[in-house]
């Protein structure tokens, strides 16, 4: 976990409302797949934005974000190559695949596909990866070349403009009988994760989900980003997560 002043190398639009920002962390930084960074957007926005790391190679780190409000619009507008940006990283637990888990399915929707791309990049060639990636439509589709590192790729769109017509969860469930994975890793909007939880109940396959919540400090001190655990306690999404076993949390 480090507080750094990073240098922006590239910040560009890669799909409708989606931007990709690559920065240099100064020196090599080890980031697990599924971990995230807090990016200071500056100006009058005092809170940093928690954004999943999509790629990490040596000192180069790429995060992808959706333009949603004033903060992310500022991020897109103000941080051109050469600018510096305040970043805290790497944060959270990230995804782990156990040695005995050979067949890995990743199921992503919306901006949830980006932490899963970091999973594909980490385990490609080491595990058998089937990726089910959901987008709203063709205009939202991006980073296909990264997803193609997986052994099997199904792209799903809500309107059928590319690939499977339906959600990533539906596409995944259709394949489940034929090719049973040892573990499922997922990230996406809460309704999508809920659908996955319902569909996977009783299947005996471990499912890990990465959650999203409004954050304060990003390191587990302020207790702003809690989620409900099934044992009645709270977990901190930033520190205890963002990745949880699906049965451990209430979605």
């Amino acid at each position: 976990m480090r507080e750094i002043t990073a240098t922006v190398l590239e910040n560009k639009k890669i799909a409708e409302n989606i931007w990709s920002l690559t920065f240099s962390a100064g020196d090599d930084i080890r980031i697990r797949c599924g971990q995230f960074a807090m990016l200071g957007v500056g100006g009058q926005q005092l809170l940093r934005r928690p954004i999943a790391v999509c790629k990490a190679e040596g000192e180069r780190v790429t995060v992808c974000y959706q333009l949603k409000g004033e903060g992310t619009r500022r991020l897109a507008k103000e941080y051109k190559a050469g600018e510096t940006i305040s970043v805290l990283l790497p944060l959270g637990n990230g995804f782990y695949v156990k040695d005995e888990e050979q067949r890995v399915a990743v199921v992503g929707g919306g901006v949830g596909i980006f932490p899963l791309i970091s999973v594909i990049r980490e385990y490609a060639g080491k595990k058998h990866i089937s990726a089910y990636m959901g987008f709203r439509n063709k205009r939202a589709l991006c980073m296909e070349y990264e997803m193609q590192r997986s052994d099997k790729l199904v792209i799903a769109t809500d309107d059928g403009s590319v690939g499977y017509h339906g959600t990533a969860v539906q596409a995944f469930m259709e394949d489940l009988e034929g090719e049973r994975p040892d573990v499922v890793l997922a990230c996406g909007p809460t309704p999508m994760l809920r659908a996955l939880k319902n569909a996977m109940t009783g299947k005996g396959i471990p499912v890990y989900v990465s959650l999203e919540e409004r954050m304060g400090c990003g390191i587990g001190a302020c207790l702003v980003c809690v989620c409900d655990r099934t044992d009645g306690k709270h977990a901190r999404v930033c520190k205890d997560g963002p990745v949880f076993e699906i049965g451990e949390v209430i979605l």
Binding site: E3, L46, R48, E213, R214, G216, G220, A221, C222, V224
Partner: protein, 302 residues
């Protein structure tokens, strides 16, 4: 190299910079980023007699120059803090145990458990985000006097700080009430009650609907209130509200504060407190100030 140490109620602090309650947990997470023994002290997350779950999420929102929060005092309870965190934290820096209760008796009981074990107790009678207790005690002088006196009666060894709410009619009257109740020190301001609305959903962003406003945007109001409190009572004052750099801290010291707390800035920059400490040293050196305590109350009104 200026002398940054300050004396607060007879307790020496390495420097006047203390992370504010609720933004810093019990210090362990920040200690993974920097050695928190550089701090003047740590104001702990608000402690209650029993563990509390806090409010539903979202607990945080943003508006230009400020943030809003309504965590609702989620904490493991005072016993867990004593068992798991106190020894570690005391080994690092001065401990200001922030405490909250639902009743006057709660406050007295928690104080009794902490007496002699922490460097200060900071009485939170100003939390705007819980339904009972919290701010309910911090609005009127009579209840401030009563809860302060009850806490003080439980504290034989540890100095008592009373943390005032800004959501009140008169800061001087409330500061005097705390003094009359037996407070050894006053800290202010807690957050201002506010609301931020998601106009698409036509709903408040925070699940609790309202939240406490903090951050750079509240600073001038906080400075004025610290000035008022410092001139109403003869006990030391800890100032806070929007401090993000050394120059901000100097403003509070000039207004009458002996020490300062830093809250929201810890979210914008995890190194905010060490940066402010380094900046204070540089500022003092550049201005021929030998001891930071010379600045306290050195304001010259127009």
């Amino acid at each position: 190299m200026a002398d940054l140490s300050v004396s607060l109620c007879g307790v020496k602090l390495r420097n006047p910079v203390i992370p504010a309650s609720g933004t810093f947990g019990f210090g362990r997470e920040f200690d993974e980023i920097y050695d928190i023994s550089v701090l003047g002290g740590v104001a702990t997350k608000g402690l209650t007699l029993d563990a509390r779950m806090g409010n539903p999420v979202p607990r945080i929102a943003e508006s230009r120059g400020v943030i809003l929060n309504a965590v609702g005092l989620q904490n493991p309870g005072v016993e867990e803090f004593l068992k798991n965190d106190l020894l570690w934290l005391r080994g690092k820096t001065r401990v200001l145990a922030n405490v909250a209760g639902r009743t006057v008796e709660d406050y007295a009981l928690i104080c009794a458990k902490l007496d002699g074990l922490v460097d200060f107790v900071e009485l939170n009678i100003s939390c705007p985000n819980v339904k009972s207790g919290g701010m309910a005690f911090g609005i009127r002088p009579e209840t401030i006097r009563e809860v302060t006196a009850a806490a003080k009666a439980s504290l034989k060894k540890t100095p008592l700080i009373v943390k005032l709410s800004p959501n009140v009619e008169s800061i001087p009257a409330n500061a005097r009430a705390a003094r009359e109740g037996g407070a050894d020190c006053i800290s202010l301001v807690n957050t201002f009650t506010g609301m931020a609305i998601d106009i698409e959903k036509r709903k408040p962003i925070i699940a609790n609907n309202t939240g406490g406003v903090s951050g750079a945007g509240i600073k001038p109001i906080a400075v004025r209130m610290v000035y008022e409190a410092a001139h109403a009572v003869d006990i030391p004052v800890i100032g806070m509200g929007g401090i993000a750099c050394a120059e901000d801290a100097v403003e509070f010291l000039l207004a009458g504060a002996t020490a300062v707390q830093v809250g929201t800035a810890n979210f914008t920059d995890t190194l905010a407190c060490p940066h402010i400490i380094e900046g204070l040293n540089a500022w003092c050196d550049n201005h021929g100030v030998k001891s930071v305590s010379e600045l306290t109350g050195a304001l010259k009104l127009n």
